[in-house]
């Protein structure tokens, strides 16, 4: 193995970078990117991935450490570096071809080579059909492909990709991945940065970054092999799956657990024997089997495990009264913007104490549907109700019975934590003593005590998420609306979040979640998959996976496989040639 290891195209030793006071953005990070390989830079938002990439691309200098890019400083190797930032600088009003031409000229590609290069890149990215379309009119996935093509106008030796998969649906993400892995076969050294831990498993070498520190480096199997045998799958238990997960997580020999359809997946503490059926005591039928370890399990293991199963937040929450009316209902909800139908004929009901997921690629209509139900958009036709209140006629009443957590936790960044809490308490009509009690409780539950006077915008991501949840549930609403609630946060913070949500659901809270993260979908009791403004499949996550298995014939598909299979089926039944 070592004999065949080619020399790295880029390497760095002991990089340190600080921005102002506080912990370093990069703390003694070393990395080597070799040709013919896909090197993964994995970690949650704020881990330091972008900082490291910008240093490698020569856009920023490190405070300490050495850097060797193609045998010199990055500034001497710019010709051979392809760099694609998170939001690639596409000119939205220029067409696909014009963007390519612009970047070819910026990178001084000889005129004679333009046509051949563009032809190759457009074929490679499958954008040939759209070459005259303005870049602003492309879907998220196509924009990323065009960005990639622009970064490749001169074939680089080192390709730095900063989260190319962000905001891209699973299908485009897979396509992008396979394009880039083709590039490694030409001998390009690729650095692919991502917050999706499942992408790490496909890399040749992974660098795992968290809080500016390197937690792991090596082939991903090295991490998963280390915990092999400690991951178990529990199925066929008697009780509700959320209860089983909560009880399992409260055990001292279990350090992490997730829901996976009707199964519960557990990570056992190092040195402990995996609990068997009798130990778990979840019924005679319970089956415990080994499951293959995932990169995320390894990450959680390094971080010391997730939170315990019982949510303090849920324990202090009121019991939501049982009612005959469904907690959320949509009857033929349709939204049109001019000629464009953003959502058509949405029908579903969600009972008390259920988690319902709206799934779908970006721009498919799931957000439109979500926004109609939470009162941000007025439906063109159809009706909906939240907590028994009509979203048209009693909009303000419907709004006061829901808690809302926006994508990226839109809190008031310039306001302190305490001011944010006070504002949301007031907005939900909590006054005086009630507000004080609620704020005090949230502060304690979410451990915000010593950060009360800090500006919310400067909080670490995990704390932002806590604060956003605190603001959304302070008034103890019967219904919670969550918009991609855990995107980009580290897995421990994600577990903590879902522990709270699972606990709240047990108290009768109903949750509507919109997501394109498949592990969030697994927590749902039922989901509906929205594609091109229509519901193309509905059911429990297990139902959808079973349906996908029937389509593809493959056994045991993941949620992401199911997502892709169902969309492709819908695609085939529609008019071909419009794929976007």
């Amino acid at each position: 193995m070592t004999a065949r290891q080619p020399l790295p195209v880029a390497s760095a030793e002991g990089l340190v970078k600080r921005f102002g006071a506080g912990p370093a953005a990069l703390d003694q990070v070393s990395i080597a990117i070799r040709p013919w390989q896909m090197t993964g830079l994995v970690g949650p938002d704020g881990a330091g991935k972008t900082t490291l990439i910008r240093i490698l691309a020569g856009l920023m200098t490190a405070d300490a450490g050495t850097l060797d890019i193609l045998g010199g400083a990055p500034i001497d190797a710019l010709e051979d570096i392809g760099y694609m930032p998170q939001r690639f600088g596409l000119y939205e009003d220029l067409s696909v071809l014009e963007n390519l031409t612009l970047y070819a000229e910026l990178r001084a590609l000889p005129k004679a080579e333009h046509d051949a290069t563009f032809d190759r890149l457009l074929t490679f990215t499958d954008l040939k059909r759209f070459q005259s379309r303005p870049a602003g009119k492309l879907s998220g996935g196509m924009k990323q492909k065009l960005g990639l093509a622009c970064a490749l106008v001169r074939t680089p030796k080192l390709l730095l990709l900063d989260e190319p998969g962000v905001g891209v649906d699973p299908i485009s993400r897979r396509e992008l991945w396979s394009m880039v892995s083709d590039l490694t076969e030409e001998g390009i050294g690729v650095l692919w940065s991502t917050a999706y831990l499942d992408e790490a498993e496909n890399c040749d070498i992974v660098y795992l970054l968290n809080d500016g520190k390197l937690l792991f480096e090596g082939p991903p199997e090295a991490l998963t092999d280390g915990i092999e045998g400690r991951v178990i799958k529990v199925t066929d238990f008697d009780d509700n799956r959320r209860h089983v997960l909560t009880r399992a997580l409260d055990r001292s020999d279990v350090i992490d657990g997730t829901l996976q359809g009707r199964a519960v997946r557990l990570l056992v503490k190092e040195g402990c024997a995996p609990p068997d059926r009798t130990v778990l005591n979840e019924g005679e039928q319970t089956r415990v089997s080994q499951a293959s370890a995932r990169f995320e399990d390894g990450f959680i293991d390094i971080l010391g495990g997730g939170p315990t199963g019982t949510s303090q937040l849920a324990q202090n929450y009121r019991e939501i009264p049982v009612s005959d009316a469904p907690a959320i209902s949509a009857n033929g909800l349709t939204k049109k913007f001019g000629d464009f139908t953003a959502a058509e004929d949405m029908n579903f009901t969600v009972g008390r104490g259920q988690i319902f997921g709206l799934l779908g690629p970006n721009g498919a209509g799931k957000s439109t549907c979500f926004k109609m139900l939470c009162g941000l958009l007025t439906p063109t036709s159809g009706t909906g109700a939240v907590a028994g209140k009509d979203i048209r006629r009693a909009a303000a009443h419907a709004r006061s019975s829901l808690g809302y957590m926006a994508q990226k936790f839109s809190l008031y960044g310039d306001l302190s934590v305490a001011q944010n809490l006070a504002f949301f308490a007031g907005v939900y009509n909590l006054g005086g003593a009630a507000a004080k009690a609620a704020i005090g409780q949230m502060t304690e539950l979410f451990n915000l005590g010593d950060r009360l006077n800090v500006n919310a915008g400067t909080l670490p991501l995990g704390f932002k998420q806590r604060l956003a949840l605190a603001c959304a549930v302070m008034h103890q609403p019967p219904v919670l609306f969550l918009d991609e609630p855990t995107s980009g946060v580290d897995p421990v913070a994600r577990r903590e979040f879902w522990t709270h949500i699972n606990g709240l659901v047990e108290k009768g809270v109903t949750v509507l979640v919109t997501t394109h993260f498949m592990d969030e979908a697994e927590y749902c009791d039922s989901v509906t998959l929205i594609y091109r403004a229509r519901q193309i499949a509905s059911g429990s996550p297990d139902d959808l996976k079973a349906e996908a298995a029937r389509i593809t014939g493959a056994g045991d598909p993941t949620m992401e496989d199911a997502f892709i299979a169902l969309i492709e089926r819908s695609e085939q039944s529609n008019a071909p040639g419009l794929a976007a």
Binding site: K371, L376, R399, L402, F423
Partner: protein
């Protein structure tokens, strides 16, 4: 009530939390006030004028002496002919020329009215007009001092309300109207647009806050800032620049309050129409320019074409400039203030309603 309190407090915090923001709220308006008041002085000093004396008499000589003694004029150029005069003005050697006709002294001696010719460089109309004013002033002074009733100039201009013709007395009160408009408008214009850009607007819309509560919550803090700025300007004008404030403070604040509401309506309209802070900034700039130009501060409304004069009727600054000048310099009585205040009230009601309508309409 709890909700309204919460959003007003939040908006105030949003304005004041950022130390830079705090400075921006109060420092630039004050600086603008200072700079404007020094830079836009309408006095003309050291103007060069020419004298064409074809009379050669003592009366003409006396007047020339008086002109030469004035600090407003610099060098006096003696001209010998009308051709020379034309050339001097053509080359911009002088801005104006005083012409004494051959019969000037004779007419005065006979007790008849005499005419004094003043030729001005129309290319520099503003300054030239002022110079003309100075010259006729001097002429009428001279006439008044000579015994008898007859003088060389028939119309005698006396400057009431501003006896020393100190232009800062005129500009500063109007500047209060202009500068507080700049501040009030831009603060409001940013408020909704900022939330849209930060993504917190949806959060606000999903909360049980009623539409009117959001609107009121967003309008009160800029209004308070405007009132506070107005107070600071009032203090600076009277204490620092010694401009007399002769009217009623109560009427000043009442008018300022209505004026600020009218502007906040405009600002809210801009904000509701914008999706980014940049658009809001450009939008408030767009509103600002006509607001200032059509206020009567920069150029007299009576000099505008009729149709433009009609347009000024919807400009809130037009009314407030009159009120604030009146309150400063001539102790404007209640009835005259009300005459300006009721259209201002109508405008405020209109801008607030239109912005509320747009805010609702732009919800989606």
């Amino acid at each position: 009530m709890e909700r309204l309190r919460a959003i007003i407090l939040k908006e105030i915090w949003a304005l004041l939390r950022d130390p830079k923001g705090r400075i921006i709220l109060f420092a630039p308006p004050l600086l603008q006030l200072m700079i404007f008041s020094f830079a836009t002085t309408l006095d003309v000093n050291n103007a060069r004028i020419g004298i064409l004396d074809q009379s050669g008499g003592a009366q003409a000589q006396e007047l020339v002496q008086r002109i030469a003694a004035s600090s407003n004029f610099g060098e006096i150029q003696r001209l010998s002919s009308h051709d020379g005069l034309a050339r001097a003005i053509d080359r911009q050697e002088i801005i104006a020329a005083v012409v004494f006709e051959p019969g000037f002294d004779r007419a005065l001696a006979a007790g008849k009215p005499a005419t004094l010719g003043i030729i001005l460089d129309g290319r520099r109309s503003n300054a030239a007009q002022i110079v003309a004013g100075y010259i006729s002033n001097i002429a009428s002074d001279a006439a008044a001092q000579r015994s008898g009733g007859s003088g060389p100039v028939s119309g005698i201009v006396t400057n009431w309300y501003n006896p020393s013709l100190d232009y800062i007395w005129f500009t500063l009160p109007s500047l209060i109207a202009i500068v507080s408009a700049v501040a009030g408008l831009s603060v409001t214009a940013q408020s909704v647009a900022r939330e849209r850009e930060l993504g917190t607007f949806d959060q606000l819309m999903v909360s049980p806050l009623r539409m009117h509560e959001i609107l009121i919550g967003k309008m009160i803090p800029p209004w308070l800032v405007g009132m506070l700025n107005g107070t600071i300007f009032l203090a600076v004008a009277t204490l620092f620049f010694h401009v007399p404030f002769t009217g009623s403070l109560l009427l000043f604040y009442l008018s300022l309050a209505v004026y600020m509401f009218a502007l906040i309506g405009v600002g809210m309209f801009v904000s509701a129409a914008s999706t980014t802070q940049q658009q809001a900034f450009l939008g408030s700039f767009l509103a600002m320019v006509p607001l200032i130009l059509l206020s009567g501060y920069a150029s007299p409304i009576e000099n505008m074409p009729d149709w433009l004069q009609m347009v000024t009727l919807i400009n809130p600054a037009r009314y407030f400039v009159v009120i604030v000048q009146g309150l400063f310099l001539k102790a404007m009585p209640l009835d005259l203030v009300l005459e300006q205040l009721w259209p201002l009230c109508l405008i405020a009601i209109a801008t607030l309603s239109i912005s509320a309508w747009l805010f609702r309409a732009r919800m989606e």
